[in-house]
């Protein structure tokens, strides 16, 4: 009899928490980089929101598995944590880029399940405030005329996302051989902007959030935002590339993947939880604070989105010779 009461109590408790067949006991988020980076913040902020909204029991543990630009964490999840139902891993465009270019040796996107996005940081292309260039087509014409006259600085390595954005734009603008576009890699967007101010380079490619401080002070001139439509707030006055006839969207998205053999119930639970975080007011505040623009994709939609972006990056990387 006592047993029965206990069971009933457990059942009521379980049903009161949520309607899912899967309930996590303790949850974990792997940040595939050292503390302090973008993935680390994705884990910590989403973890905190999950906790505040009582979507997970207690707090979410954040584990840092640094190395190989996320490759170490990816390999570990695939080989050792493949059936873990309580684990999610932070990811971004960089993850997709590296998967597309085979920079995670032996790993493909099908080995994990993609859960959902929590926002995107749209790309911008900017020049110094006293530059004669005022629009994206003008910059592209300069590149067409003499590719060696324009150096574009960005915070990622060659073949990385900052580089690819410019190449996609150049491709759409009709630059025949995109390999001629001169890209100079710096350690992070901040250093790249500084070199733009110093006059060492002629243009900058990066994320909207990286450039915000300099846009506010008027030191740089944003000539194109690589978003489907104009951004809100401070960036509202800058035209999109699309408006200027160059149809290119460069979104540095942030989101999560989960182990490949996660049960369907657990997957449904996580898709729902991340969706709820995205829809919450708390998260809207965090997005505004961090310069994240909306990108609302969960479950299958997100899976398809990642697949599509990996395919297009693979094509482009083949064109520029990074992938053979």
């Amino acid at each position: 009899m006592k047993k029965l009461v206990g069971l009933a109590a457990v059942l009521t408790l379980a049903s009161s928490l949520s309607a899912f067949a899967f309930e996590p006991a303790k949850t974990e988020c792997i940040a595939p980089a050292a503390p302090g980076g973008g993935w680390d913040f994705t884990c910590r902020q989403v973890g905190k929101t999950l906790q505040d909204l009582k979507l997970v029991p207690g707090s979410m543990q954040v584990t840092n598995v640094a190395g190989g630009g996320g490759g170490v964490a990816y390999a570990e999840v695939v080989s050792k944590r493949d059936a873990d139902n309580e684990l999610i891993v932070a990811a971004s465009s960089a993850t997709a880029t590296r998967l597309a270019q085979g920079a995670f040796p032996g790993n493909t996107m099908d080995q994990v399940r993609w859960i959902g996005s929590v926002g995107a940081d749209y790309g911008i292309i900017a020049v110094a405030k006293d530059s004669p260039v005022n629009t994206l087509p003008e910059l592209m014409d300069m590149i067409k005329k003499d590719p060696s006259a324009v150096s574009v600085a960005g915070g990622s390595a060659v073949g990385g996302w900052d580089h690819l954005k410019v190449l996609i734009a150049a491709n759409k603008a009709g630059v025949e051989d995109v390999r001629q576009v001169k890209y100079v890699a710096f350690d992070g967007g901040g250093e790249a902007v500084t070199q733009l101010l110093a006059g060492s380079v002629q243009a900058f490619t990066g994320d909207a959030s990286e450039a915000k401080g300099f846009v506010d002070s008027g030191d740089i001139k944003v000539i194109a935002v690589l978003a489907p439509e104009r951004l809100e707030g401070d960036f509202a006055s800058f035209p999109t590339a699309k408006e200027q006839g160059i149809d290119v969207i460069g979104a540095n998205w942030r989101g999560f993947y989960a182990p490949g053999s996660m049960s369907d119930d657990a997957y449904a639970y996580w898709v729902d939880a991340i969706g709820k975080v995205y829809a919450s007011d708390e998260w809207k505040g965090i997005m505004a604070a961090n310069g994240l623009a909306p990108l609302d994709l969960q479950g299958d939609e997100f899976q398809a989105f990642v697949k599509e972006s990996i395919d297009s990056i693979t094509n482009l990387s083949k064109q520029i010779g990074i992938v053979k």
Partner: protein
Amino acid sequence: MDTLASLADGFAVALTWQNLFLALIGCFLGTIIGALPGLGPSNGVAILIPLAFTLGLPATPALILLTSVYYGAMYGGRISSILLNIPGDEPALMTTLDGYPMARAGKAGEALAISGIASFVGAFFATWGLVFLAPQLVKVALLFGPAEYFALFVLAFATLGGVASRNQAKAAFAAALGLGIATIGVDGQTGVPRFAFGEVHLYDGIDFLVAIVGLFALSEVFIFLEHRAGGSGADGAMKVGRVIPRWKMVRETVPAMGRSTILGFIAGVLPGAGASLGSFISYTFEKRISDRNGTFGKGDPRGIAAPEAGNNAAAGGALVPMLALGVPGSGTTAVLLAMLLALNITPGPLLFQQNPDVVWGLIAALFIGNLMLLAMNLPMVSLFVRVLLIPTRYLMPAVAMISFVGIYGISGSTFDLMVMIAFGVLGWVLRKLDVPLVPIILGVLLGDQMEKNLRRAMTIHDGDWTMLFNSWLAIGLWAFAIVGFVLPLIVGRYFRPKIADEPIAEGADPD
């Protein structure tokens, strides 16, 4: 004075019980983090970010906590450099050169006290520099393009000979080894992995800390294991000596501190140079200027004062581009920057106008933290030196343990532990061959940046080498580099015989 009024407002922000308490905690934790091999300022700050998050601290207190840890770690790094010949973090590397010989000569207490004072002087004046010069100094940072940075790193390498007191060829070999190690990992300018052998763990290159802890701490443990049978090694009987330095010694080091503060501060202001370059340049410059009798490298107090003032001044300098441009001048400021962004503060040219309470509160907290650190560090010297009284057979296992825990704690990767052990064995072999270890780390630290900047300059100018001498600044740096390299070869003739005559077999360690 506007600036002073703002600073006074800053003190009003910083002087609350909560903030003072956070600064105290930060300074204390920072000192320990800095002293432990394997944990440097950037990891220390990164590890504490979650704490600041969990406590739900607003922007100013969170920054006060984290910058106190930063300054504390810059102070703390010297402790294990001096006492154990193991740099606690990368900027404290140069302090081993004279610090450890001083400790061996029974002057550990004085070495710690001098370096504590030097740290204070460097950090104190650098903070004043931050107050008055930040807007102007930002313009200096903008003068440096890739070509100028390359010339700056060439200058650093040209003076490398100053590090090795004895065999220049072996120092050159060690530096070359370091340059080689620096090339491991994905090459940013082509996106292609080099010397990674398909191993994902190597794509990010070799972490400096893994190399430092392996080369210095583990090789020390190996040497201990090797001599264990010998029993009564000289190490066990190290004297502690006096704790308060003689006034004469302090006075002698004052010019070194002054010069090094300026050099370190400038190195810190340049994003992409940083504290390691600051302490390195300060040391080699000081050695060139004042090493009349060849005492540097054998326990000269000026050889401790210079790098410590230099690296602490650089820590203050690195805050200039971070606050005024939003560009990190060092690994630690990169982490602080991420923290600022998470707190909804956009660093950049307008930060001083938009968030004056944060900026000036932070600067005031730096002054407070710095005083606290001095007050904390000087009396604690007598506590620190007791480490030397611990018999080596207890100390070494602890060093090994801290090394493993520290390195594993950063990356959570057992691969890094293997790399660390490999470096430990390498360090042990190199010590046997009497090859100095410091130039290896300098090769790794500086070589990486030197290569990147050369490649950037070449890309921008389509491979035109003459563009490396395109500005007066670059030409000036090249001239200094050439003079710094050639002059000792000529002038050295007059001093060298005297140095060479001195008995080398003082029983000093290979480095």
